[in-house]
Symmetry: C2
Subunit: 354 residues, 2 copies
């Protein structure tokens, strides 16, 4: 019977998609003792009030004897804001309905226990799968210490990402290109390799749909970077040039921040980006770096935009270089979600199996 | 108001999908003077009665003053069976509702004119687009002299049709492989090149879902064919080995029929297959022959089965070899139909623009 309200709370949480890192997405509704809606809230960004607090503030005295429906277990520790369990207890609620336990080791069920011990009726696990799906990036980062990796590419139906001569503008249509800006707005960082930078001189922003813009990252083996590039203009968005210790002596262009990793590989980069609070990153790179990211488990989800085109070309670029497979049963498998149309293109999403 | 009955007639026509060549698919219903259904029929195969005749026979006297709803204009010429217009007039109908004019130059509107001149109310063009879609293979063959070409492949989401070492069994799941048998059952011929024959020794049948099985065709440049192959056993299904005049002196294995074409190319083959009454063929070939077929306009529709897998491999096989494109605006474009699930795979269909 709580599904309907939990769906509303999930919809509220989704309003801040991509803007709460390193925190999770959380939404909450408060019902009065008669079951009428008296408060709504969501977590807008780190440092701002948690969803429960906003919803309870809106409800005021009407929350007395009522129900809080919240997508994530209320926290019971002092972070940048006081524990939510205190606010819940102070509001005089009779019941709390939760979708997902908070995997943060400082919470991990302790919030629910505290509320139960105080005599509240706590119902946990309502729309658990939907809530886990919504917060998959946060949950993955807490569990693995790396951000959730999305690998995005656009291709013709025959799997080509460029013509033989390298031409690739444009494979997908204007709607799909606008969708990419949205994808970046929902992410904390966008990663390319030196090859993509040299070939495309991309801007890699959300075109203003996110403030601040996601961090733009170049992972470069050689630091053989162009002196002029759109990415070096850090008035538009911050840029990070990451590389291995082998090239630590080489200069980089003025503008971007520099990061020397213990090794020039996707895993080392993601550990650092998680440390900086990234829940979700988008790989918008070429076939070699994409394959390396997959081999190191740095991709959880592939988003392939398929254009209604045939491009051909035996030597033309493809989405992925070698994965080192020798038998079909070694292929990386996952689940293809139902495709969605984007203009004349179709988006195919593959959730890779863990 | 006739849409509902025309949909029923189209559904009847579809019962013979792939089995009427060189004839079109046709379905018909007969309503009595009160609008009640009194007869149904469809064209089952060439040489057997036309759809109208079956439906009128079932209706008997109840057709008097009634309506015939038929997906294709009744024929007005003697073919293997007498003109349908005669049967329609004899039945004493008041009205005929037609979806599509028959493009056969012996009909082409003359059937409708004959009925109108006899005083019947003829309504033409009801669900015209749906009827044209259903009979696209027949219509294409009548207009161009070539069968409708379907190019089928299975790939990972990254566009690979094999691993680097050539392994390709299996990319798609059991449901998709059963679907391929169905696809063949709906077609008149299945075409491979010598490379696919040598690599896979395929059977290329519908596994008994069509009688007779579709013609199996090998288009071979070199006639460098294995002495033993499943295709040579013509007790299972007929096989045709087609080649150019350059290798006309070379022997072929016992079993298959031999056809020397004016040139070893897809177009020459399709002209001959149309002459033999094929409305629809399936290309199940490798990247080189597939690209050649596309370049010669021998592919109208691509059916790509996308498996929930990543395979990678810079040198791994892909669906299409060179199409000779130098700019993105030269890419072959079409319309991607809404994808349909087949087990864990998804079928993407591209109708190429004419």
């Amino acid at each position: 019977m709580w599904d309907l309200w939990m769906r509303r709370a999930l919809a509220l949480a989704a309003l801040a998609e991509g803007r709460t890192s390193p925190n999770p997405l959380v939404g909450a509704v408060v019902l009065d003792a008669n079951g009428s809606l008296v408060g709504e809230g969501f977590h807008a960004r780190a440092g701002e009030p948690h969803a429960e607090v906003g919803a309870l503030a809106q409800a005021g005295d009407a929350a007395q004897g009522g129900t809080l429906v919240v997508t994530l277990e209320p926290c019971c520790h002092h972070g940048r804001t006081p524990p939510c369990t205190q606010a819940v207890l102070k509001a005089g609620l009779a019941r709390v309905v939760v979708a997902l336990e908070d995997p943060d080791p400082r919470v991990a069920g302790a919030g629910i226990r505290e509320l139960r011990q105080a005599g509240l009726d706590v119902i946990s696990g309502v729309l658990n799968a939907e809530a886990a799906e919504q917060n998959r990036a946060f949950l993955h980062r807490v569990r693995t210490g790396r951000p959730w990796g999305v690998l995005k590419w656009a291709m013709g139906l025959d799997g080509r990402t460029a013509l033989t001569n390298g031409a690739s503008q444009w494979i997908s249509g204007p709607s799909a290109r606008a969708w990419v800006h949205r994808l970046r707005a929902d992410s904390d960082a966008v990663i390319v390799g030196g090859g993509t930078l040299r070939a495309d001189d991309p801007l890699l922003t959300s075109r203003g749909q996110r403030t601040p813009e996601p961090l733009r990252v170049v992972l470069s083996r050689s630091l053989d970077l162009p002196a002029g590039a759109q990415l070096w203009d850090n008035r538009v968005a911050a840029t990070l040039v990451a590389h291995g210790p082998e090239v630590a002596h080489r200069p980089i262009p003025a503008g971007p921040e520099r990061l020397t990793l213990p090794a020039c590989d996707p895993e080392a980069l993601l550990l650092e980006l998680a440390r900086r609070g990234c829940n979700r990153v988008v790989w918008e790179c070429g076939a070699e770096l994409a394959a390396a990211a997959i081999r190191q488990g740095c991709v959880q989800e592939v988003m392939a935009v398929v254009a209604p085109k045939l491009m051909g070309g035996t030597a033309a670029r493809t989405p992925l270089a070698d994965l080192g497979l020798e038998r079909m049963d070694q292929a990386l498998v996952g689940t293809l979600l139902p495709p969605t149309p984007i203009g004349e293109d179709w988006l195919l999403r593959l959730h890779l199996s863990a």
